[in-house]
Symmetry: C2
Subunit: 406 residues, 2 copies
């Protein structure tokens, strides 16, 4: 029996029971209306913890520290996150500061610093202003409705917060999964992405928790692209505190299936919102590749297409230049048969059996003018499907990124 | 003994003895001053032939046909190239047209069509206008000083022709290597790139010829990036007709070493000119990675940096944002030790041992304002070096590519 998954209105990371959060403006970023730059997430009950992290050869000490503190034999209570400074490429001071941030947070909340995680996002190569951390972290008030404050605190160049929660019932016990993320630039994750935090009040077996997160990340954050660049600070954390009071979820039953589905919905929503809010973007691009030999082929080809600068600029220009879609699918080097490929823009077919067909150009140009553009490539050589998300590439991306630090 | 390599003034593909070339305007592209869109390259003496081609899963039938006709047991006399139409993703008609182009060319020159190669570049998904081919190819006059006409005929969005020749003497016999290329967009080659033709009057063993070309392409065309996209039509051909009258070159002596060096100079020059003339580019970016564990690591890291959109936009904005250089080197996932990395912009050091050092920001901003920007990353973990070339990313790239076919 499939358990239905419901949306939680105004859902966020504090929608699951037992989680509280808050945020504050410390002055790490330039001031602005309702701006915050340190966020705190807390659970009184210890949480099973799963994580995926950047595969970049150069990573932030905050990522290194979190990796040490995440595992099936570990429990955590809190995460502190600052935006405006990545704490990356600052030498040995980076780890000293990352640890001190968890010390300050642990002392403030009354938990061991080893049970506290830390993330940083922002400019690389600049030390964390620890004086601000020491002054402002102890001032952060966490509350059961503070998820939105946390969501604001982790943003950098994002135009809006990204929050969601969903729920499912197991034997009359409501289980909730909530999440927040930030993105905007340096987005082409591999095994992880930017910052995202997912909470649940389900009681989840730690190994199953990591397995669920890894599989969800593969189909969500690892399938988005803004600019092909992979950050040094990418982190996705999934915390399960069991506060719902339900049975242990460890795979092999309806509750587990519902949990996996709920985590997938949350991570996919957050990933899509990151793509939609890419730097300079005017629209979301969803690329579906059907009929591939393998799921990995379909994921690779759809991502290659969503990441192609020539596809991104064509969509921006409302140009049904399907030759670029072919090029971008093909550069993934998956096996295919060109003479079997069909192509669609928002369900309007423009290519059949590898060749252009007559279509109403104006209809396709109109479809490309919308806020969301769906490109579909049917390879017709197998049964597997993959989906990826990107955004268009505009002059604004260039203007913005040619004047970021100076 | 190292044989000196000399530049040939106004060198091009017809600088080596026995090669003639020409070009014509047939109307495949929109007309313009001195525009041409079909080029012809011919050698009366049969040529040993080596080639490298696009690794895209979707390739032009012209590439498929050339692959069949290139090999150590093959000889060719001619290459016909059209610009303005890629002859890609047009179904079975593509191969029929590619073959007919070589039939027309063979008949015009009096050589077998099997000894004629063909390349096409331009819009994907549109059939070659064969009526124009039948009318205009037979009108092309080839001459020993026609290399420049050929160079013009292969251009698409390029702003200028790319031509070079170098020579070296073996026992008083002058050997010349010439080359032309075109590039501009969809440039992130793998095992081959865009269109480039290299000619030589040296008498070269076919296996050594292919080995020399493959190794040269690895260090030249495979190390450039404009926009991360790999074309369906990438082709590099190397033709050796032996017209210089020198000994057979087959490896293991000074003449062979000089030949390899000459081919490397030619391919590297042509590759760099493609990067410099990237769509919308205002400057060439050269990235050198020193002190890597392996040459492949150094090549991969330098290319990752030259291909990074965030590095490209930072250079465009004259922004010494070295955190992006770190990110881009690291996303190649090569082994490194962050605490050993030194970074330089046009020889001005900005990072020592993985951390920012005090430098005159204005000097670095001035360096970034030049036509050529040299980024150097010393990993200091090994002895290997790799170089890659890219260009900056500007609003003009976006404007240009958001309005290409419509």
């Amino acid at each position: 029996m499939t358990l239905p998954i419901a949306s939680v209105p105004n859902g966020t990371i504090t929608s699951p029971k037992g989680f509280s959060a808050g945020g504050i403006f410390a002055g790490i970023k330039t001031p602005g209306v309702d701006k915050k730059d340190i966020g705190l997430l807390y659970s009184e009950q210890a949480c099973a913890i799963a994580g995926t992290f950047s595969q970049n050869s150069i990573i932030s000490p905050t990522v290194t520290l979190d990796r040490q503190r995440v595992g099936t034999d570990k429990k955590i209570h809190a995460v502190v996150v600052n935006s405006g400074c990545a704490n990356t490429a600052v030498g040995d001071q980076g780890m000293i500061d990352a640890k001190e941030m968890t010390d300050i947070t642990g002392a403030h909340l009354g938990v061991a610093s080893e049970k506290t995680l830390v993330s940083s996002t922002g400019v690389i190569g600049v030390e964390i202003p620890m004086a601000l951390m020491r002054e402002f972290i102890p001032q952060i008030e966490v509350s059961a409705d503070g998820g939105g404050e946390f969501a604001k605190a982790i943003l950098t160049t994002d135009k809006r917060t990204k929050e969601i929660a969903v729920s499912f019932d197991v034997d009359d016990v409501t289980h909730t999964v909530g999440g927040v993320s930030k993105g905007s630039g340096m987005i082409h994750p591999n095994m992880a992405t930017m910052l995202a935090y997912v909470t649940t009040d389900a009681d989840v077996d730690p190994a199953f928790l990591q397995e669920t997160l890894s599989e969800s990340v593969k189909l969500s954050f690892n399938q988005i692209d803004v600019d092909g660049d992979q950050s040094t600070n990418d982190t996705v954390l999934l915390m399960a505190n069991g506060a719902a009071g339900g049975p242990v979820i460890s795979g092999g039953n309806d509750a587990s299936t519902a949990f996996v589905e709920a985590v997938r919905k949350v991570t996919q929503y957050l990933a899509i919102e990151i793509a939609r809010d890419g730097e300079g973007a005017t629209k979301l691009i969803e690329v579906t590749v059907n009929g591939a030999h393998s799921a990995d082929d379909a994921l690779s080809a759809s991502r290659s297409c969503a990441a192609s600068m020539l596809v991104k600029t064509a969509v921006y220009g409302r140009d049904p230049n399907w030759g670029r879609i072919f090029m971008a699918v093909g550069k993934s080097q998956i096996p295919l048969d060109e003479s079997k490929i069909d192509c669609f823009v928002n369900d309007i077919q423009i290519v059949h059996a590898g060749k252009a067909i007559s279509y109403n150009v104006q209809s396709v140009v109109s479809a490309l003018a919308g806020d969301e553009v769906r490109l579909r490539v049917d390879l017709n050589v197998g049964d597997e499907t993959g989906v990826a998300w990107g955004c268009d590439l505009t002059e604004e991306y260039v203007v913005f990124n040619s004047a970021y630090t100076t």
